[in-house]
Amino acid sequence: MRIAIASGKGGTGKTTVAVNLAVTIARQGRSVHLCDCDVEEPNAHLFLDPVFSGSWPVTVPVPAVAQDTCTHCGMCAEICEFNSIACLPSRTMIFPDLCHSCGGCWLVCPQKAITPEDETIGSISTGKAGELIFTQGRLIVGKTLVPPLIEAVKDVPGDESWIIFDAPPGTTCPVVATMQGVDFVLLVAEPTPFGRHDLALALELTRQLAIPCGVVINRYEGNPGQVEKFCLREGVEILARIPFRRQIAAACAEGGLAVDADPEVAAAVSGLIDNLRTRAVMA
């Protein structure tokens, strides 16, 4: 079963849920692969202390111009949807950090003066934390093309029975790239007006992608609030509630696991796994 963990709002507890879910599944003796898809700011490794056994660069093709064969006809700049080429009367200039690697420029160039050249945008590391298989992507600071790196991270897992993708915050292209092709999305929400607002955005995204989803409420304070009312109104199931407690925050701050710090969290995560398992059987 392939699961993406997303939220809309940042800081709601995506990584807390992802890490504690993955470790609990591994402790149950099942094969599980956790991928940190928040390549702009990966942090799941802080809670896992993994031993990496492999690391490799990820490249995307960007145009390179042979100025001596280029006639500066301007067709490359014309076809570029991303304004990454400026064609001047005596020089054609490329801005690789604006390029989305569509390949239009080297296809359209009548002189074949443009050729694709590999540009490294980041790297992938993979290894193990105990029995848990762990992979992370890391974007090079200053690079802006995130989805190809996330897609490369998602290509790493094999036939593990549980594959978990920890998504970046927001509802933009990197989150879409993380969600695409998964069986289920877990939306982690916090019971605040901001949390409810961004949960609505993330829910709308899962609906547009036609992926089934459920909600985990983090920092739950015991009384049904606006997030629960919202879920009821929208017909979205709440799969787990993680309590708001100092000992959980203290464990996370030290790089520890919430399931080890609080038995109620351990029970909530076990219940979540049981619930997800019934969905995998149904799917």
Partner: protein, 119 residues
């Protein structure tokens, strides 16, 4: 001599737009004929990214020798510099006022970008 001025509107009485790439209009002034021609830059106002790159390419295509604007970002600066277009920045007020100030003063073109590139 031909100048381009970034503008909020199509007329010399309109305000200079402090942004170069995303200015709604680029106004071309030809000193030999003392005429103004407004060029619609709305395609770049709506651009997801790289507005400065394309606006700079257009300024070069217009045959301009110099640009008067508020700020010029790094990519536009690179394109304009490669084509030998001088960049004068820090202008505010009307397009006509900027032109008079440029004609009257002994201003120095900028030698490095003075705006932050934005998406």
């Amino acid at each position: 001599m031909k100048l381009v001025i970034s503008s909020e509107g199509p007329n010399p009485t309109d305000q200079v737009d402090p942004r170069f790439g995303r200015a709604p209009y680029l106004i071309l002034f030809d000193s030999s004929s003392e005429t103004f021609v407004a060029r619609d830059n709305s395609a770049q106002v709506e651009a997801a990214q790289g507005a400065g790159v394309q606006a700079a390419q257009d300024v070069v295509a217009l045959g301009a020798d110099a640009l008067l604007t508020g700020h010029c970002g790094p990519k536009a600066f690179e394109v304009l510099s490669a084509a030998g277009v001088k960049i004068y920045s820090g202008f505010a007020g009307t397009v006509m006022g900027a032109l008079r100030a440029w004609q009257g003063g002994e201003l120095q073109p900028i030698s490095s970008p003075d705006g932050v590139g934005r998406h």
